[in-house]
């Protein structure tokens, strides 16, 4: 039944998805707690034209994607971290513009053709050693930054207005968070693509958030859940011959829905019982 994992390219995909789980699991919790989910989606989508450019002009895809993502992080992201909610329309506009520019570049300038689908939805079974190295780097940076800056990210997110008074006025920690999310989004591109990046970056963290109340257990459980969903999605895609990125997204989305339903049912049950008693 687990024959799939005998193949070297599946093993490499597994290593990739496990490394990404560490990065996405730790950063995902910060994305959710700081209200940056839409930003994370936007930054991944913004990387798409960078990928098309890199593909067409023949330079490193990672470089192209990260360049554009970083640009997005420094403009829209700044607003996102500062004022919760006020940046949504700007993010949406940039997201649409990025996708449109990417598609026009792909279809009319570089004639990338079949590559577009890969760029948008990833190709986990075709990752190379460079992708794995990038995932390992992002995982290490995510852990290091969480350990070093987590206290500040938490304090500033909890009460942005008090940050100056508390002596946490420097915008640097937040910029590091935004840049790391951009880097993580780029790292997930090869696995799940620009449009499904949130399946790893946001969905597992949002799922675990419903059943945890503290940062540390939330982060540990999110890493574990992302790894489990990634592994299950990879195996399922191999068995059913479905695209792995989409399969992982479906598994993650399905589990999120189940947990949300279960929680809703539990709340309703305890409430009605409370009324009856």
């Amino acid at each position: 039944m687990l024959d799939a994992f005998d193949y070297p390219f599946v093993q490499r995909a597994l290593v990739e998805v496990l490394l990404l789980s560490v990065a996405a699991g730790t950063l995902g919790t910060w994305i959710v707690v700081r209200g940056l989910a839409f930003y994370a989606h936007g930054v991944a989508a913004a990387a798409f034209p960078g990928l098309v450019l890199a593909d067409g002009l023949g330079f490193s895809a990672t470089l192209g994607a990260f360049g554009v993502a970083l640009l997005f992080a420094l403009t829209v992201g700044q607003l996102a971290a500062r004022a919760r909610g006020g940046h949504d329309s700007l993010t949406a506009l940039t997201l649409v513009a990025a996708l449109a520019i990417g598609i026009v570049l792909a279809s009319d300038v570089f004639h990338s053709g079949a590559n577009v689908e890969t760029l948008l939805f990833g190709s986990l079974l075709a990752v190379d050693a460079g992708d794995v190295r990038l995932a390992a780097l992002v995982a290490a940076l995510a852990l290091l930054a969480t350990w070093a800056l987590g206290q500040r990210w938490l304090a500033v997110g909890f009460d942005p207005a008090a940050a100056r008074g508390l002596g946490a006025r420097s915008p640097l920690p937040d910029l590091v968070l935004l840049a790391l999310i951009a880097l993580a989004a780029v790292a997930t591109l090869s696995a799940v693509g620009a449009l499904l990046s949130t399946a790893l970056l946001v969905v597992p963290a949002a799922t675990v958030r419903m059943v945890t109340r503290r940062m540390l257990p939330w982060q540990a459980a999110t890493v574990a859940l992302a790894a489990a969903e990634g592994t299950a999605g990879l195996w399922l895609s191999f068995e059913t011959n479905a695209p792995p990125g989409a399969t992982i997204a479906v598994v993650a989305g399905g589990l999120f829905a189940l947990v949300a339903l279960g929680r809703g049912a539990h709340t309703m049950y305890t409430r009605t019982r409370g009324v009856a008693a």
Partner: protein, 258 residues
């Protein structure tokens, strides 16, 4: 007391979000050990003044001098209630300034945070989630954060809104204590009668209407100018119970019960 150097000194201060000020002609000082009630209608500039004191807004005109950094007890926000932090975590946030950015809170800081929670009467709820606490308990956790920070200036933005009588009294006592320690306390409130117990009042309605000791300052003219045309005056009952005191309600504030 007046010889002490002020903690806050504003003169001709104007602040706003764009080019046009939403609050202007503010001139007051906050001295150590003083409680100042900040009165005014919704949109009158109370929160704007606090944002200027917190350094979020730069003065458009005039000067604003602070002798120390501010601790703050902000209004309740939905997003804060969902935050995955305990009361102790919140109190510990007050210790951020005291250590390099890569360092985690040490044993001494944890002890200080627990001591602060103990002072505000929440020692046994230290590990409870912030969002699970009652409104009054949450305000006291935020006061504990200011204590850990050792803030000499403490700002409270409508801290009594939605609290029951007992919680109000506990918080008032806590504020009195802060002032006795020599801290300067600025409290934005809707409750004029409550502000009468404090040292001075600052009346704002898009500009400064008046500033001074409550007995001399809170005249009907000042209150009318502060709250505009929509004064609601409940008849004061001579020697009445505490629940029947005189109240002036700003516009859009019909849910206030006394």
């Amino acid at each position: 007391m007046s010889e002490l150097a002020p903690l806050v000194a504003a003169d001709g201060l104007a602040v706003g979000y764009g080019a046009a000020p939403v609050l202007s002609a503010v001139a007051f000082d906050l001295r150590p050990g003083e409680r100042i009630g900040v009165l005014g209608p919704n949109g009158g500039g109370k929160t704007t003044l606090f944002r200027a004191l917190l350094g979020e807004l730069k003065p458009l005109a005039g000067t604003l001098q602070l002798a120390a950094r501010c601790g703050t007890v902000p209004q309740t926000e939905r997003s804060r209630l969902d935050f995955p932090v305990s009361a102790l975590d919140v109190a510990l946030m007050g210790a951020i300034a005291g250590r390099p950015w890569w360092r985690h809170p040490g044993r001494a800081e944890r002890r200080a945070a627990r001591a602060a929670l103990d002072r505000v009467g929440l020692a046994e709820l230290a590990d409870r989630s912030f969002g699970e606490l009652s409104g009054g308990q949450r305000q006291r956790v935020l006061v504990a954060r200011a204590l850990v920070q050792d803030a000499r200036i403490v700002l409270l933005d409508e801290p009594f809104t939605g609290l029951d009588a007992l919680s109000i009294r506990r918080l008032e006592e806590l504020l009195d204590e802060l002032a006795r320690e020599g801290r300067g306390v600025l409290i934005a409130t809707h409750d004029v009668e409550q502000a009468r117990a404090w040292d001075r009042v600052l009346c704002l309605n898009r500009r400064q209407i008046a500033f001074g000791p409550p007995a001399q300052t809170l005249t009907l003219d000042v209150l009318a100018a502060t709250y505009g045309g929509s004064i609601v005056t409940l008849p004061a009952v001579a020697g009445g119970a505490e629940g029947e005191r005189l109240a002036l309600l700003p516009p859009h504030h019909h849910d206030h019960e006394h």
